[in-house]
């Protein structure tokens, strides 16, 4: 019996070794280990053995043989499987530089990108974001900002007048500052707000000037706000937005809606000064127009252009390019 078992085992191992595909192995699985396999038949004959010892010995040999066949099958299966997978893998080879235009993400306008980055920096500095209408009344755009009719400073604004209501009563806002008044009227201080938005100036466009552009305005109103707070806030913004190597400086200037007024310049790490925007302490008349008592509250405001941030960041030579809606421009960013 033992001899038969060994022979069957050897034969089985031989046929496994001879198999060259997974399919053949699948067939062998039944042939070599199934109910009608030589080893199974031998197992059926165990009962006919005379002694317990013989039964025990042959049974053990049979179990070993079946395990061995199973093991050899598994080994062979793994080997052939790997080979077949390798064939498949090499057949599937691709050149990944053969690329086709695929549906891509859309591109955000670079002014929106600058706008959102500015918002994010100010949000980080504790500001909220307010908005207001682009078509404004003369009162919000000028009068409430300490520019009564015939105020000389009005001539600094080339204003688009809108044919709505009384002649001269409606304008396209020339700055985002009217939103300051709307915020003061609607939000009780303390106010820490920025006001980004579209503004309009009736002036001929060129490579650095647009008639329709975007500004961001900041307004802080609280108890005990000082000019030093303004300088510090500008400095904090400068470093958060441009980088740690940048510093800022305030220079006296004039705006009807702030006093003291200043221009703020930033200094690049290379030492160049760039004029960025205007700022100042909110004028008492403006606080009053917003319904606040200037003896109780003080504050500062600042503002600058968003388009220029986009222009400088991406090195756009002509701001007018940003508004052609030429897909060849938009796709670049």
């Amino acid at each position: 019996m033992i001899v038969d078992i060994n022979a069957a085992r050897a034969a089985a191992e031989q046929s496994i070794a001879n198999a060259s595909t997974i399919d053949e192995l699948r067939q062998l699985d039944t042939e070599l280990l199934g109910k009608k396999s030589p080893l199974a038949l031998l197992k059926n004959g165990l009962g006919k053995l005379p002694t317990v010892d013989e039964k025990k010995e042959a049974g053990q040999a049979l179990n070993e043989a079946m395990s061995a066949v199973e093991f050899t099958l598994a080994q062979r299966r793994a080997l052939l499987g790997r080979a077949e997978r390798n064939v498949q893998l090499s057949a599937e080879a691709l050149d990944l530089t053969e690329h086709f235009a695929a549906p891509g993400r859309g591109k955000s306008h670079i002014v929106t990108q600058a706008w959102q980055r500015l918002e994010d920096v100010f949000v980080g500095l504790g500001f909220q974001v307010a908005e207001g209408p682009e078509v404004e009344t003369d009162w919000y755009n000028f009068e409430a900002l300490n520019m009564p009719p015939s105020h000389p400073a009005r001539s600094m604004h080339d204003t688009f007048y809108v044919d709505h209501g009384q002649p001269g009563s409606t304008v396209l806002r020339t700055h985002t500052s009217p939103v300051q008044i709307r915020v003061m009227q609607n939000v009780a201080p303390p106010i820490y707000m920025i006001m980004p938005g579209r503004v309009f100036r009736n002036e001929t466009t060129d490579a650095t000037h647009l008639a329709v552009f975007h500004q961001i305005e900041g307004l802080v109103i609280d108890r005990g706000i000082t000019l030093a707070d303004l300088a510090g806030t500008i400095e904090a913004f400068t470093q958060a937005f441009f980088g740690a190597g940048f510093t800022s400086r305030l220079r006296p200037s004039y705006f009807p809606f702030t006093e003291p007024s200043a221009e703020f310049d930033i200094r690049t790490p290379k030492g160049d000064w760039l004029e960025l925007g205007g700022c100042g302490m909110v004028h008492p008349n403006v606080l009053r127009a917003g319904g606040l008592d200037p003896e109780e509250w003080s504050g500062f405001a600042f503002g600058f252009g968003i388009d220029r941030m986009a222009k400088e960041r991406h090195g756009v030579g002509d701001v007018r390019e940003m508004y052609t809606n030429d897909i060849r421009f938009i796709e670049q960013f």
Partner: protein
Amino acid sequence: MKIVHSWLRDLAALPDDTEAISFALSDIGLAVEGVEKVGTTVAGVITARVIKTQRHPDAAKVHRVFLDNGDGTEHHVWCGAFNMQAGDIIPWATPGTTMPDGRLIETKPIVGIPSEGMCCSARELGLGDDHEGILIMDPATPLGIPYGQALGFAEEIVYDIDVLRNRPDAYGHIGVARDLAARFKVPFIQSVPTLDVTGDSRSAPVEIVAGDRCARFTTIIISGIHITQSPDWMVSRLAAAGMRSINNVVDVSNYVMLETNQPNHAYDFETLGGGGFKIRLAAEGEKITTLDGVERSLTADDLLICDATNRPIGIAGIMGGQNTEISPQTTVVALETAWFEPVAVMQSVARMNLRSEASARNERGMDPFGIDTSIARFVELLRVTCPDLVVHQGMVDERSESIPPTKVIAVRPPRVSALLGSTFTVEQIRALIEPIGFSCETSKDSLTVTVPSWRPDCTLEIDIVEEVARHFGYDNLGKTVPKSTQPGGLSVIQHRRRRLHEILLGLGFNEAMPHPFLTDGDLSNAGLPDVAVRLVNPLVVGDDVLRTSLRPGLLKAIAFNESHRRTGVSFYEIGHVYPTSSDILPDESEALGVVIAGSDAPQAVAVWRELATGMGWGARLDQSQVPSGLHPTRSATLSAGKDVVGAVGEIHPDVLDAYNITQRVAVLELNLSRLLAIEPKVAQWKPTSRYPSSDIDLAFTVPTSVTAEKIEKALRQTAGALLVDLTLFDVYRGKDASDSRSLAFRLRLQAHDRTLTDADVAAVREKCIAGAAKLGAQLR
């Protein structure tokens, strides 16, 4: 405003350090836009006397000039100008000279005879526009010296200062010098000459009719004048400050204005009808020819200076008339110095678009009490060229009630300190503002500040706070960051807008930013009502329509790109539209527009569905209401409740034609002011089943009158709780127009508590078929 360095140093003991002064100017709010050197002379150009001139038979356009520069040699130059004669002294550019235009002067022959250099015109030396001929110099000029030295040219450094609206005083050298002296803590020296009145009484009487427009008008008669050239130093300074020399009287008038800031006007007294003045408003349409030779038509709001016969002789505060101009024969002048109401001057300037050095000052508000000093200074300077001049008694000083009162402001040091963030005492404040002319009466804890008459901008305590800050130095106030007690952040609407941007970008749409102004016809071409708010003063004639829809701008963007061989582009825009309204302001709102070139309506609907899911929006698709300008059989309005919140579909082919677009354009338009305000439903978890699912595919022939949406709804209802997913996966329309089409749906069924049996699935299938049949859908 051009401010001359040497002039400033005459008025204040300032350091001779251009950089330090330049920095200080910017630091006190007089921003320096440029520093330039003027009066630089061209090296190599020297004086020479013409010995003789000679024509040459072979050279028609030039003649030979023989020169003597004092070195005993005769120099020969060919010259194309013929205005000189023997004995004249001219500037001679010697060989090797580089002219201001970069030309190198070399010895060059004409008809074989060499030319040693060149005779120069004024223009060639950068001395003005005169190129009529060679510059003929004073016969007493020494020979062989640099021409600049001969003309008394001093090299001057000029600061170009941006004078702000609130600093009218900084239009004069005195104002700038006073500010700088305070900054450098050096003495400010304003010479106040005494007016030597020696002549008999001669007056030019003044009648101020429009007293609200003219607060002060002084006249004084000066005789014994002869018209001549100004001294070189004055010509040189005027040139540095950007003014051309005319004659001694006009130059002194300008010089006094540039120094004291007070505009003045010298009239030829002999030409002054009736020997006096009348200041009145012009009659509508009244005409005057101004000094620049232009006849100007006036309005009833313009102020005129007339002579005593009521003849207009000048536009008040802006420009004198030609009829009383100083002429070479003038011997007696009436000097006018006046104060005009600034806002009215500004309005006249704007109306006439006529600007002058005088108007630039008068429209900002002059010092009504600086007049007397400026008259004395005028006489002092004119005496340099007219030593025999006589100032007559009988000066007229007519004033009206509108003369600005002296302003007195109470200043509280704690207030100053609170606003500037540094502590200022009474004494510190006084020390900062007294040097710039603010006189202070102080008590223990406050100041009473009298504003100098040259600072009309200062009316409130806050104006004094600014002066304190300016002279303390903004840089010295330090930098602190206020502690915000509120959390920073975007509002919910701003967060939703950001999310909308992200979804649209993720779907592959590029963001466009078209112009918010439309051209006449853009709206009607887009199939939209031609009702819009218009600009009164558009930049470009015709571009005056405020958009009521984002559509025209986006269509133009598609057309532009198509014309540049870029088809199939897709854009979105989030922006404001401004429809008309009877309220105080137009009905401004925020809108979204999406245009997809080369795609048809279902694509737009798919975008809407994606946005609706992503943003938590809901709306009814109503194809029975076709939005204007959209494809009538491929478009729908989107409604929420009773309100229309948008439109979806395709652009009408007529509109595409009008915009020169040859592709189909799918479109989605939404009213964001409404939709972003909607609180989105937060998606709630639905448990997923562990049991296997089964699919049923059902294809129906559906009458055209029945929408897919209706069939879907019916299937959902009849399939009941086992339905977990329903998709329309195929639509088939026969080639011929038909009253039906085929719609194929896939339903996925699944239970939460068991594996579905064939019987379960069959039952749902039967119910669905029956449900659809009620709507006229036949199973195919």
